[in-house]
Structure formats: C-alpha cells, structure tokens
Symmetry: C2
Subunit: 251 residues, 2 copies
C-alpha cells in the first residue's frame, strides 16, 4: 500500500453551530477538499465552503438509515485517502473534545496516511458564552471541567463521578447529558453538593433556536421537564451561571 | 449619558496563536471596527484584518511601559463607545476562558453600552491538540478540567486545589502555570497522585515556535528546567498525553 495512499486527511472542527464560528483554516481546507465526510451536528452552511464538485458524504444518522459506525468512517477516510484524495472529516465542535477525532487520526496514521487535526470551537465554552455565562470569572471561578453525560450513575464502566467532580471545580459543563440529567443531579445531591447551586441548560446553543433554562440543583430537573428540553444541549453547573443576569443582552 | 453612548463593543477571542484559527466572525468584526483594543497574546496577523484607518490600541505590556490596568481598559472601551465608535476588544484565546472578558462586558452593560462576546479557540484545548494530545478519548478520558496556575500552593485566597482536581478528572490542563509548576506538582504528589502520571508542557502553542516537553509527574519539573521552558505555556496532566506517540505527525 505504501505510496498508494497519497491523499491527506484533515480532521476538522466546525464549531458549535453558528456558522460564523468556523475558523479560517476550516474554510480553507473545505475549499480545497475532494471529499468532505460530515457529522450530523455541523452548521449546514459549512458545506457551502466546499468546492463545486466535491464529494459530500454524510456520516450521521438519517431517517430510515443507520449512521456509519466509527469503524466504517475510519475505513471510508482511509479508502478515499488511498484514492489520492484530499479529505476533510468535519466534526461538530472540536474533534478532540468528546469527538473521537483521535480514533480516526490514529487509525489513519497506523495505515500510513497523513492526518492533521484542526481544532474547532467547542460547545463546552461557546454554549455558556452565548447564554451570557463565562466558564471562568476572577474571584468566582478559577477552574472549570467538562464531562460527558453518557457515564451517568448506573452505567457500567463509569469514569465520571459528577458529585466528586463538582466539588473539585468551580464550573462543571456536561455535554450529552439531557437524558441523564436526573441521575447526574441526584448523584450531586447525594454527594452533598449545595442544592442552591445555579444550573443552566442551553439547548441548540449558538443557533437562532437557542433556548436557555435556568434553575438550581434542586429544581433544574423539574424545570427541564416543564420546558421539554431536548438534545443537543449543554448543562452548566456553578456560580457563574448567575452572571447571566448581568451579561445577557436583552437587546 | 443615555443616547450618547451609541457605539457597540465586541469582546472577541483571537484564538491561541495560529492566525488561521481566527473565526469568520472575528475577521468580519475586525474589518468593521473603528477601534481595535488588543492584547499582547494575539496573533499579530489578526490586526491585518482591521480596516485601513482603524485606530489600533495596544493594551498589553510594552518595554518601559506598564500595561493598561483592567479598569483603564474598561474606561477606554466605554469612552470609545460613547464617541459612537464600533469597538473590537481583541483577546488572546477566548475572552470567557481565563480572559476577564466578563468584567469588561459587565462594566459596559452597567454603563448602558451594548456588548457582545464572541468566543475564540482557547489554548486549553488547542495547545494539546497541536501537540498530538486530545483532552478526551473514549475509554481513557471522559472528562477534563482547566485551571489557572496562578492560585498555586502558598497563594492567599486560593480557589484551586490541584491534587484534588487531578484526582477528580482524567485530564487536567493548567494555563499560566510555568512559574508555579513545581508547587503544583508538589501538591499533586503529596495528595497521592501517581508519580508516573504523564505530563506535557506546550510552549508557544500553535505558533511556528511551538515546543513540547514530555515527562511524568516525577520528572517534569526537572525536564522543564533543563529545557528552559518559558511562558506562555500550557501544561497537560493525564493519560492522553501518551497518545502523542501515536498521533504526533513527524512529517
């Protein structure tokens, strides 16, 4: 295979949703790509930067069709690179922040294909920002953490213990946590986290349909249920949630 | 003052150093600004997007001159807005990630001036990425945290306890920690963090002069000293540091 796989693959972050949060590098690489393999959660406008005639491959879920598995995506990227193509693998957010970009890049490098990762703006920080919530603030929050909500209490092979984590940082951001919110909040309360801790849920962050639900650890589960919050959403726990009252533009 | 302060202020992140990591929104706002107030740690190429004739104000440290204080910056932004100007306040990284952008925005809003925050790519995630280190990885790291190194052991009014934090997350990223590395590592070791924990220091991240020093908790202080590591640098603690061996492009 050596020599045959002369293509290059760029694993590129497309940011959290607002198409203006694409980087110049993402736009340049999209305009140069022969093939773009894209996720479900990218700003659709991103594809408009691909050159005319570029092959666009959807790797996310479609009605009536299963998503490509990670292994299928890996093989597709390799196959296109071995056809000599320049490939952009476009991720929502940042490929290295809960994005599995490292699996794709390792697979390619192990098969002798050149691979470069281009960071994107992650919803971990941008979703709170667009809701008027800084993840850090002098005197109020000197640290923040981010975790996936997919390792909630009850899950096997857990790595995330939300109560312990919340007690170790000032701000905690949980992604992919809408379905497990009640379990996560329950664990925090059992671990002794203050029930009055401010919590915000930002749905469809940075898009025109962004919606924010604010509460405390003691009432956020009920408020989320009342509001009918759906994924994708980002959940922020911590005192800087209160700054929203002073930072949110009403105009 | 009402009505007089008709200008707008945009608090904009310029990303970690690579000028191609600027967002489309940052570039657009720079091209529309009457005044750009910029930090020391921005990519210098960013200013080339300002329109001809825009007023460029340096807010960082210059030889023989003190930096503007935060209060001076706040007042400058207000003053320019009250002249009816469109102002871009350009931060290195992301204004809401250890950036004090929220202080500027709150000050402006309290004085009746419209303010919008535009996220940038933060070195918290991009510095590791450019060194071949993902902050998360399936099965290896389901959470990460970021903290400033300015609240090291011995400081008054500490908010960050690095040992406890390291034990609660998989990956810990410390910014502004070169000067306090020894104190931070010492605290982790005293708190029982595994001395073989991988650590990487990324100096001048995402720029052509980027340099990476890799070690473990037990030898990183010595390695940093030998290498003569200087700020700005980002320090990453955690098992994903080892993935660099498989992700780093030698080409």
């Amino acid at each position: 295979m050596a020599g045959a796989c002369s293509g290059r693959v760029y694993i590129v972050g497309a940011g959290p949703g607002d198409p203006e949060l694409l980087t110049l590098k993402a736009v340049r690489l999209l305009s140069q790509a022969d093939v773009v393999v894209y996720d479900r959660l990218i700003p659709r406008e991103a594809l408009s930067y691909a050159r005319r005639g570029a092959e666009l491959v959807y790797a996310g879920k479609m009605p009536g069709r299963h998503a490509l598995t990670q292994e299928e995506i890996n093989r597709l990227l390799l196959e296109k690179a071995c056809e000599g193509k320049t490939v952009v693998r476009l991720h929502g957010g940042d490929p290295y922040v809960f994005g599995r970009g490292e699996e794709e890049c390792m697979y390619l490098l192990e098969h002798g294909v050149s691979c470069e990762v281009v960071p994107g703006i992650t919803s971990v920080t941008a979703a709170p920002a667009y809701a008027g919530i800084p993840v850090t603030s002098r005197g109020l929050a000197s640290s923040f953490a981010a975790a996936t909500g997919r390792e909630a209490p009850g899950k096997q092979r857990r790595h995330v213990y939300y109560g312990r984590l919340m007690k170790a940082v000032d701000t905690l951001v949980v992604v992919m946590g809408v379905g497990t919110l009640e379990a996560i909040v329950g664990e925090m309360l059992r671990e002794g986290v203050d029930p009055s801790l401010p919590v915000a849920i930002i749905e469809k962050a940075t898009t025109p349909r962004q919606r924010v639900v604010v509460g405390t650890l003691s009432d956020i589960v009920e408020k989320a249920r009342e509001a009918g919050v759906e994924p994708p959403a980002v959940i922020v726990f911590g005192p800087t949630v209160r700054l929203r009252e002073r930072l949110w533009r009403l105009s």
